[in-house]
């Protein structure tokens, strides 16, 4: 494609966008609104995911060792596990320390009732494992289960599973919404380009008469779609960014313990995704509506 062609496409697209005014604006804002909604869902999901990761990272994993594991074996295991990259530190709690902790915090009578006394101590040795921030919990748990000395692992699984469930649900909902809104926007772009195409049919007939290829005729429409897609994406990114910062600031005032921030790098990744979606929407909407261009660009209707 020559530079002359490209410059023709862009100048034609600019003229046509100006001429079709309101129609072009409607398409642009439809893309922007769809992308804002898609982005909002993705952002909410990413935040929950980030919260979940934070929760996982802060979780203290307690590994209960088998009763027959001696202190020296427990120390050896602790040493072995400390080298794992997910682990920040490991504290070894001997059965005596565990019992002492229990007796300092619980009602002695209740403990006596379940058979725990300072002399007869059924508590196993345990490892309290602190996970490094940002590390995922599941692979670590899998790794811990392979250790023979470990009898049981506890990590607040109920709460974790609940949040994981919400996160999975939100991902599914986001996916459905992205697909649904994507198709809806595609349909609107398709119809707008179709409308513009019929409005400019005379021009297209002349283009074809003087030897324009189908791709040359499509060129300005594709550039129009591209401009609308990119502009819509940029509007949605700016709007989302401003709203997100605003909502985060408000949330921080009311629920400081719950607020997570996905960070600028994650937001940038989301912005890139929205930008790509806008571009693809604009171009594919145009391409779809121009696929049967030859049928509508004859100088005289067939059969006359």
């Amino acid at each position: 494609m020559s530079m002359a062609n490209l410059s023709f496409f862009f100048s034609e697209a600019a003229v046509n966008l100006r001429r079709s005014g309101i129609t072009a604006m409607v398409t642009l804002f439809t893309i922007a609104i769809s992308l804002v909604l898609m982005g909002a869902f993705l952002l909410a999901t990413m935040n929950l995911e980030s919260f979940l990761q934070q929760m996982q990272a802060e979780a203290l994993v307690t590994a209960y060792l088998k009763p027959q594991v001696g202190l020296s074996d427990a120390k050896a295991l602790r040493l072995r596990l400390t080298s794992l990259e997910e682990i920040e530190n490991i504290e070894l709690i001997t059965p005596e320390q565990a019992a002492a902790e229990l007796f300092s915090s619980s009602d002695d009578q209740q403990l006596l009732q379940i058979g725990i006394t300072p002399d007869s101590n059924p508590l196993p040795a345990t490892l309290r494992i602190k996970v490094k921030p940002g590390m995922r919990l599941t692979p670590l748990l899998e790794r811990l289960k392979t250790e023979d000395e470990i009898d049981n692992i506890s990590y607040g699984e109920d709460l974790f599973r609940q949040f994981q469930g919400i996160s999975d649900l939100l991902w599914t909902a986001s996916l459905v919404i992205v697909i649904f809104l994507g198709l809806a926007s595609l349909f609107i772009v398709y119809n707008t380009v179709r409308l513009t195409f019929f409005m400019r049919r005379e021009e297209i007939v002349i283009m074809k008469l003087v030897g324009a290829t189908n791709w040359f005729v499509r060129g300005p429409f594709i550039v129009e779609g591209l401009i609308q897609g990119i502009t819509g994406a940029l509007i949605s990114i700016l709007f989302l960014f401003a709203s997100y910062r605003f909502i985060l600031a408000k949330l921080a005032l009311f629920t400081p313990f719950f607020v997570t921030d996905i960070g600028l790098d994650q937001f940038f990744k989301l912005a890139v995704k929205l930008f790509m979606m806008g571009t693809i929407l604009g171009i594919s909407g145009s391409l779809l509506s121009l696929r049967d261009i030859s049928r509508y660009s004859k100088s005289v209707p067939e059969g006359v």
């Binding site: 494609m1 002359a4 023709f8 283009m207 030897g211 324009a212 040359f216 030859s294």
Partner: protein
């Protein structure tokens, strides 16, 4: 230059627009296509720029069999043809120069080539002084001359024209016809469908008469009469 071999065109509604038409047109010829309305003149012309396809038979243009040509090659065929139709088909939102330039823009010509060729074509049709005007500011004859300028801006081998004087008065029609003769004198083959008895009778060029899709007369230096 142009050859039709046993061309028949039957429309989906059963109308036989062309019926076993065979014809050869040599390079540099000037051919009038005459006949009553509905005789198949426009269908004949549309076959030449592949706007329509024969139901049977073959069409050759510049040695190439265009009826079986893939759709993607059609634009390249048309770049060697100039086409002028009865309704002027000018873009009202573009100036005279921009309308003429259109034929060069679509083939990706550079700005300098476009500028010089447009000037040349407008001079040939005597409208270079109106290059910045819009079609609506021109008379019918002038609009048709802009169409002719657009058709010749690519230096086509063949000029196909369908009723170019149909909407014009006799004096303007003569001027337009003079233009076609000049273009023809430079070697361009001209095929013109017309109902204009006077012009055909006056110029005494080759006349092909079509009636009910059949060629009933093909006469060098002929007249309009075909009944």
């Amino acid at each position: 230059m142009i050859q039709l071999q046993n061309v028949t065109r039957i429309f989906p509604n059963g109308v036989r627009a062309l019926d076993n038409v065979s014809l050869t047109i040599d390079p540099g010829d000037f051919v009038f296509l005459v006949g009553p309305s509905g005789a198949g003149k426009s269908t004949f012309l549309r076959m030449l720029f592949r706007e329509d396809l024969p139901t049977e038979g073959k069409v050759f243009v510049d040695g190439k069999e265009i009826s079986s040509m893939p759709e993607s090659r059609v634009p390249y065929l048309r770049r060697n043809l100039g086409i002028v139709l009865q309704d002027f088909q000018l873009l009202k939102t573009r100036t005279v120069a921009e309308n003429v330039a259109f034929g060069l823009r679509v083939i990706g010509a550079s700005s300098s080539i476009i500028s010089s060729r447009v000037q040349e074509a407008l001079e040939q049709v005597g409208l270079s002084h109106k290059r910045r005007m819009f079609p609506t500011e021109l008379s019918g004859g002038e609009q048709q001359r802009v169409c002719i300028a657009r058709a010749i801006v690519n230096n086509p081998l063949i000029l196909i024209t369908d009723e170019p004087t149909g909407n014009l008065d006799p004096i303007i029609s003569q001027e337009i016809m003079q233009l076609f003769l000049e273009i023809n004198s430079r070697g361009t083959t001209v095929i013109m469908a017309t109902h204009n008895h006077n012009l055909v009778n006056k110029l005494r060029k080759r006349v092909v008469a079509l009636v009910d899709g059949r060629i009933i007369k093909d006469e060098a230096g002929g007249t309009y009469a075909y009944e």
